[in-house]
C-alpha cells in the first residue's frame, strides 16, 4: 500500500513532464517573436534530460533497492570523473587516485547496500580522509601538497559520500517503527531537489533582480531563492502523503531541501568559476555534465537523510518532540 503512494508520485511526475513537453512543442510551433529562442532551446533540452533522469529513477525504484544503489553508484562514479578531470593533479597523485576511483566508492556503496550506518557514515570522512594524504606523501611529491590532497578529498566527499545518502534513504524504513514507502521517500526527495532547481531558476526570471553573489553566479537572485523555496515548501507540504512526515514535517523538509539545493549549486559554481569552465562535462545534452545536474542532490542528500533519521529513529526528548510534531 506504501507503493501505491510511490506510484501516484511517479504518475504525478509523468503528468508534469508530459505537460512540460507539450508546452515546449506548442511554443516551438507558434514561433512567437517575443520569445527568446535560446531560452526555449535550453528549456527543451532540460525537459529532455528530466525525462531521462526520471525514467531511470522510476525504473530503479520499481526494480528495488539493489538496482537503485547501482544507479546512484554509477552517477557518483561519473560525477567523480568529471570533478577530478577538472582538478589539477600531479603524477604523484596517481596511486591515491586509483583508490579514490575504485576502492572507496565501492566500499561506500556496499556499506549502504548492507545498511551499516556506523560504516558508511564514517568510512570516507575518517578513513579515506586520512588515507589519501598518507598515500600521496608516500609517492614523494610535496609540491602544493595540501592543496592537491584537499581537492581530491573534496571530490570524494561531494561526489561519492554525500550522494550515497540518497539511496541510503531506502533503508530507513527497516529500522523505523513508522510504516511508509521507501521508494516514495526517495522519489519525494529527488523530486523536491529538481523542483528547487527549476523553481529557483523560474523565480529568478522576475523583472526585479537582486543578485546574491554576482562574482560567482549572476543567475541566482534573492527573488529566485525566496520565491523558489516558498513554492517548493508549498508543493512539498501538498505531497506529505507520499512521505513519513505530516503536513508540517513535509513543508519543513522541503524548505531544507530547497536551501541545500541552492547551497550545492552555488558551491559548485564557485569551483567551476575557479577552474574557468561553465560546465563539468558533456554527457547529457543541454545539462552540461552529470555533476552540474546532481550538485544540488549531493548537498541536500546527507542533510535530508540525517533530519529524517533523527525524526524517525533517534530517542531523546527533543527528537521525541520533533517526531510528534512532524511525522504521521
Amino acid at each position: 500500500m506504501g507503493d501505491v503512494r510511490a506510484m501516484s508520485l511517479i504518475a504525478g511526475v509523468l503528468v508534469l513532464l508530459g505537460a512540460a513537453t507539450a508546452v515546449v512543442q506548442i511554443l516551438r510551433r507558434r514561433e512567437d517573436p517575443s520569445l527568446n529562442p535560446a531560452i526555449l532551446e535550453t528549456f527543451r533540452l532540460r525537459v529532455h534530460s528530466w525525462w531521462l533522469l526520471f525514467a531511470i529513477l522510476a525504473a530503479a525504484c520499481l526494480l528495488g533497492k539493489t538496482v537503485t544503489i547501482i544507479l546512484f553508484g554509477g552517477l557518483a562514479f561519473w560525477a567523480l570523473r568529471e570533478f577530478i578531470t577538472l582538478t589539477p593533479t600531479r603524477p604523484g597523485d596517481h596511486n591515491a587516485l586509483f583508490w579514490v576511483f575504485f576502492i572507496f566508492p565501492l566500499f561506500q556503496f556496499v556499506f549502504v547496500w548492507i545498511n551499516r550506518y556506523e560504516l558508511f557514515s564514517i568510512a570516507i570522512p575518517v578513513y579515506a580522509f586520512l588515507f589519501i594524504p598518507a598515500r600521496i606523501a608516500m609517492a614523494g611529491d610535496h609540491k602544493r601538497f595540501l592543496e592537491r590532497t584537499a581537492k581530491i578529498q573534496a571530490g570524494l566527499l561531494i561526489c561519492v559520500y554525500c550522494l550515497s545518502y540518497a539511496p541510503a534513504l531506502l533503508s530507513l524504513r527497516a529500522e523505523s517503527t513508522t510504516a511508509f514507502s521507501s521508494a516514495g521517500l526517495l522519489l519525494f526527495f529527488v523530486l523536491m531537489v529538481q523542483l528547487s532547481d527549476a523553481l529557483q531558476y523560474a523565480w529568478a526570471q522576475m523583472p526585479s533582480r537582486h543578485v546574491i553573489v554576482p562574482a560567482i553566479s549572476p543567475g541566482r537572485t534573492w527573488e529566485g531563492l525566496l520565491g523558489g523555496t516558498a513554492s517548493v515548501t508549498l508543493i512539498g507540504a501538498a505531497l506529505w502523503w507520499a512521505t513519513p512526515f505530516n503536513f508540517l514535517g513535509a513543508a519543513m523538509m522541503s524548505a531544507v531541501i530547497s536551501l541545500m539545493a541552492f547551497a550545492g549549486g552555488l558551491t559548485m559554481s564557485a569551483i567551476k568559476r575557479d577552474r574557468g569552465v561553465k560546465d563539468y562535462g558533456t554527457l547529457v545534452e543541454g545539462h552540461g555534465g552529470v555533476l552540474d545536474r546532481i550538485d544540488s542532490l549531493c548537498f541536500a542528500a546527507p542533510v535530508f537523510y540525517h533530519f529524517t533519521r533523527w525524526i524517525l529513529l533517534s530517542n531523546n526528548d527533543f527528537c521525541e518532540w520533533l517526531r510528534v510534531a512532524t511525522s504521521i
Binding site: 568529471e82 577530478i84 596517481h94
Partner: protein
C-alpha cells in the same frame, strides 16, 4: 580477425572507460584514405583514438605501433593482431630497402587509413615533441593521402608513463581540418606545420 560485433563491443568499452568526448572541428568522419596523426602521451592513445572513430571508418583504419611493445604479452598481441589489425614496425631493425614508410604504403594499398604518432615515442604530456620525418616521407610517396591532425587530451593523466593501473578520468579527442603536403614544401616546414596543426587543436 575477430567478428565485427566483438570489435564494436570492445570499441564501446574502450570509449566508456576513456570517457572520451569526441569533437570533429572543421572535419567530418569519412572512409576515404587518411592518415590520422596525433600527440602521444600514453599507451592507451592508439586504443582510444581507434575507438573514437565511427564503426565503418574504424574497420578501415589501422594503427601503426612498435613491434617490441605490441607483440609482448597476450593481451597486447590479441589487440594488435585480432582487433586493431595493427601495422607493427620493428624499431630495432630498420633497413633501407625495408623502411617503415614502404611497409605502410604497401600494407594500406588504396583502401586503408592509418593512425600514426609522429613524435616517435610518448612525451610528458605538457608539450608536444618534435615530429619525426616518417610522416613527410609517407606523404612524399603518397601526396594524395589526407592528413588529419588529432589532439588527445588528458590521456597522460589517465595512464601516465611508468604506471600500470589506469585512473578513469575523462579525456577529449579533437579531430581537425585535413592538410596535405604542398608541391615543393620543405621537410622541416611541413613537419612544423603538421605539429602546429595538432597544437592548435589543443587550444580550441
Amino acid at each position: 580477425m575477430e567478428t565485427t560485433i566483438t570489435i564494436n563491443v570492445l570499441a564501446l568499452i574502450a570509449r566508456f572507460l576513456s570517457g572520451a568526448s569526441i569533437r570533429w572541428v572543421d572535419c567530418q568522419p569519412d572512409t576515404c584514405q587518411r592518415v590520422y596523426f596525433a600527440n602521444h602521451t600514453s599507451h592507451l592513445d592508439a586504443l582510444v583514438l581507434w575507438s573514437a572513430l565511427p564503426a565503418a571508418v574504424r574497420a578501415r583504419t589501422r594503427p601503426v605501433g612498435a613491434k617490441d611493445y605490441w607483440s609482448a604479452g597476450r593481451i597486447r598481441r590479441y589487440f594488435s593482431t585480432k582487433v586493431f589489425n595493427a601495422l607493427l614496425i620493428d624499431r630495432k631493425e630498420i633497413k633501407v630497402h625495408q623502411s617503415p614508410v614502404d611497409l605502410m604504403i604497401r600494407e594500406i594499398g588504396y583502401q586503408d587509413s592509418l593512425i600514426v604518432f609522429p613524435e616517435g615515442g610518448r612525451s610528458s604530456g605538457r608539450e608536444i615533441g618534435e615530429f619525426k620525418s616518417g610522416l613527410y616521407y609517407l606523404c612524399k610517396k603518397r601526396p594524395d593521402l589526407e592528413l588529419i591532425p588529432v589532439h588527445i587530451d588528458n590521456m597522460n593523466r589517465i595512464l601516465p608513463r611508468g604506471q600500470v593501473l589506469p585512473v578513469p578520468m575523462l579525456s577529449c579527442i579533437t579531430f581537425g581540418p585535413p592538410l596535405w603536403l604542398e608541391a615543393d614544401e620543405l621537410k622541416a616546414d611541413f613537419l612544423r606545420r603538421a605539429r602546429e596543426a595538432v597544437i592548435r587543436l589543443k587550444e580550441r
